[in-house]
Amino acid sequence: MPFRVLVANRGEIALRIIRACHEEGLEAIAVYSDADRLSPQVRAADHAVPIGPSPPSESYLRIDRLLEAARRTGASAVHPGYGFLAERAAFAQAVEDAGLVFVGPPARAIRAMGDKTEARRRMQAAGVPIVPGLTVPVTDPDAARRAAAELGFPVLVKAAAGGGGRGMRVVQAPEELAGALETAASEAGKAFGDPAVYLEKYIERPRHVEIQILADRERTVHLGERECSIQRRHQKLVEEAPSVALTPELRQRMGQAAVAAARAVDYRSAGTCEFLLAPDGSFYFLEMNTRIQVEHPVTELVYGVDLVREQLRIAQGLPMRVPATPLAPRGWALECRITSEDPAHGFLPSTGRIEYLRVPAGPGVRWDGGFEVGDEVGLHYDSLLGKVVVWGATREEAVRRMRRALEELVISGVATNQAFHLRLLADDAFLRGEFASQFLDRRPDLLAAQLSDDQMTALAVAAALAEDEARAIRKPVVGDEIAATRWRLAGLWDGLRG
């Protein structure tokens, strides 16, 4: 019986996992909703099973349908990707109970880390530094106000079951608290099926640095950090590895804290410990993401490790292929997330059909995408279209390469945030590496769409020429046009005779 992996996801991560399966010599099973019948994951996989209507709640979030698909196709394992059910302990448990391998940590590790308040208690016990805050979820606005006053404003309202910025609100003053609790709970309920939120002290001007963990039955190792400070509304937009803020000594200390955190919950497979790194070099454990992450490729490029393939090996009970001696990052990697969000309209989601796609290529460039020409970008799913990832010997080289790659990328049919990335990569503060997690909040100029006079002139000329040409075609005048008209008239007469 071949080892078959059911990929319980869609978009770029589904394709990424299918590619890893094929490189490991494993068969891949795709699942798809009605909207995804022709999606790249279906086209790339060896088997494909429909799992229901387009809304995720009726397809990608349906544990029963996923397990039925696994049973029907004789799957040996289930890879959850990220998002959807990836961090739902009940899903990992159901997969384990069905006698299949969950490509990720054991259900009990997800449970321990997924409940952020429980995780904080455990981390405290394991000696991992944490941000001051409540250890129990809060619903009552009065209780929240008292707790917030004790922590001192600003405070952060955060989904207990969350991740990825959903169900998160920064609250500057007591009167904003009740509204923030309501919005965060509503978003959390919708995104994670659990409206519980808790409060913590909001650390100002921190960097968002995360440590990659990989664990098999024998060993738990860290693969250095990723810098994820460039965020908009807590959604990461640009990630890099390594971070300009870390020395080898600090990397070692943060790495050891992450390994301790993983060991405290008996972790397996790939995972990420998120830390806030304050300007004074102190760091605080935020949470552990018990899944493969969107930004995993930057670690792969500087450490020479294929994290998804290692996940597949670990799932088969094989030892990971990472040397026992501590690894050091080589060169610099950057990732830009390309989303269907329109910077000219306040980053609102843009929808449409992909009319044309040219992906960047050439030395040191990797494109992890999840759509092809003809695909509809709708409102049912995440706005992430793909990721441009580059490697360079130095940060400066990586930035220049990224600029080149982004200039090659052409996506026609939906508006994307590509222009924002190009502006960011030309910004002095970004080039110097001087930024913290709220960088974009203080730099609205980078978010606003801008056209240089030169660009505006060129685009105006293009439109004028196109309009001029369209009008010329509409009124036939000489030569070929007259001949063509005669042919059409002849055809018309034929039609009348017939």
Binding site: R166, T183, S186, E187, K190, A191, R233, I338, D342, P343, A344, H345, G346, L348, P349, S350, T351, E355, Y356, L379, Y381, D382, S383, L406, E407, L409, V410, I411, S412, G413, V414, A415, T416, N417, Q418, A419, F420, H421, L422, A449, L451, D453, Q455, M456, T457, A458, L459, A460, V461, A462, A463, A464, L465, A466, E467, D468, E469, A470, R471
Partner: protein, 169 residues
């Protein structure tokens, strides 16, 4: 032929004579060639090279996409522009005080009621799309004259959501 191109709130006159264009006081050799099998067109303006995705909306409306920016342009000739000027400013515009949905989505919450006075930037409606909640805000101060949608309602792009009247001074 002289055209007036409106782009990002600015009007740029472009004179086209065969393969020569005059724009911003300079004359260039210009050529626009379609890239077969794609919505792309390749522009050579002088020796400058630029690839743009272009889509015609008819009646001089063009949607251009360049480096991820999506721009809606309007191209009119001199005669059309003249007629429009005679018709007066604002002619043909509808519902100047209407706040419209910038995208298809779901109304999550209403933040205002009819009769309420709002400041510029005040939240009006929370709309959900792509699993994110987006707050639509007032562009300027005004009084809410009508709320045209209800929570739970699905709305189309361009659908009017709220009507605002300017504050009488």
């Amino acid at each position: 032929m002289k055209y007036f191109v409106t782009i990002g709130g600015r009007e740029i006159p472009v004179e086209v004579k065969g393969d020569r264009v005059t724009v911003a006081g300079r004359e260039y050799q210009a050529h626009l060639a379609p890239v077969p099998g794609t919505p792309l067109r390749q522009l050579l303006l002088g020796d400058r090279s630029l690839t743009v995705a272009m889509q015609s909306g008819g009646r001089g409306a063009w949607r251009l996409e360049s480096r991820g920016l999506r721009l809606d342009l309007e191209v009119v000739d001199e005669r059309t522009r003249h007629i429009r000027d005679l018709a007066g400013p604002g002619a043909g515009r509808t519902g100047g005080g209407q706040v419209r949905s910038p995208m298809p989505g779901l109304v999550v919450r209403l933040l205002v009621e009819p009769g309420e006075t709002v400041e510029a930037g005040a939240g009006l409606v929370v709309l959900e799309a792509m699993k994110m909640e987006n707050e639509l805000r007032a562009h300027g101060p005004g009084r809410v004259t009508a709320v045209l949608v209800a929570p739970g309602q699905a709305v189309e792009k361009g659908q009017p959501l709220v009507e605002l009247a300017p504050l009488s001074t």
